[in-house]
Amino acid sequence: MSSPRSEFISGVKAIAPILLGVVPFATISGVTAVETGMSEIAALGMSFIIFAGAAQLAVVQLIGDYAPAMIIILTALIINLRFAMYSASVAPHFKQLPLKWKALLSYLLTDQAYAVSVVRFNDNPVSQDKHWFFLGAASALWGTWQAGTITGIFLGTRIPESWSLDFAIPLTFTALTVPAIKGQAPVTAAIAAGMASVIFIDLPYNLNIIFAAIVGITAGLLTESRNTGGENNNE
């Protein structure tokens, strides 16, 4: 039987391999913020208030380029649009939770917490305590991110790029995703999305991810409706 405690621990364990890849990313975001001339307190505030690696790196770069405030804010918005997609995808699993829980889990929603949780939720949709799994995974990631950023800000430590630790993130995603893709429509959707994300790699602001998801979802829905002869698709 699952309990809040055991779900929380399972969440921490599930995200552990990804944390390895997050450390170099977190330290670099702290180091570059300070190198760009941001004060330690601003760099720290950014890491706690925004808590989104790709957007933080873009913000730091734009500040270094003396970009106007509006441009910086819009850029961060576009980079973080993908969170709305994750939010929609996990929302049904959090439907019954009190507002306080929803508010907390929203703050902690990241690529990595989403990835480990959604795979688990789809495997095991009946668990009453799955929000504890998410909390375990997401808060482990949060703690690692903040510790890495703080190390980067105050000690200037970088993890050598030649260690390639960042590769742990796509590898763990692979280990989670590949077994979860079953059936003709999901396989078609996955291949279409994977190809689209590479083809559109040049799109700015990580838009290739959203674009690839749209291409993949469309491919999946088309495959599905073709297989059912279009019967149940008159909505």
């Binding site: 994750y86 030649s162 989670l176």
Partner: protein, 106 residues
């Protein structure tokens, strides 16, 4: 840029980012009326995750590189094959990292 303006920007981005994260979680349940939307949502995990993975394997410094010289592609394909047969995250991770380090060393 003044420290005050910088903090205003950071807070604005924080608010906007929180809005994207909380958007659908907060209104969960109210999209049940749209079955086609629900159907589309089921494909989010199987499309977003490959979309995050594939550029990390196929692209080198932001440029697609489909060759045997792309160490991450070779290590990644090995990882995909292992993940197809063994549902074991640590095994896939170790095989992928191990093969990448070996390929980078030779």
């Amino acid at each position: 840029m003044s420290e005050n303006l910088l903090f205003l920007i950071i807070i604005a981005i924080g608010v906007i980012t929180y809005a994207t994260r909380s958007s659908f979680i907060m209104i969960a349940g109210s999209t049940d009326k749209f079955p086609y939307f629900q159907k589309a949502l089921r494909f989010v995990p199987v499309t977003v995750l490959p979309a995050l993975i594939m550029p990390a394997l196929f692209c080198h410094n932001g440029i697609p590189d489909i060759s045997i010289g792309n160490e991450r592609l070779v290590a990644g394909i090995l990882a995909i094959v292992i993940a197809m047969y063994k549902k074991n995250v640590l095994l896939t991770l170790c095989a992928g990292m191990g093969s990448l380090w070996i390929l980078q060393a030779i």
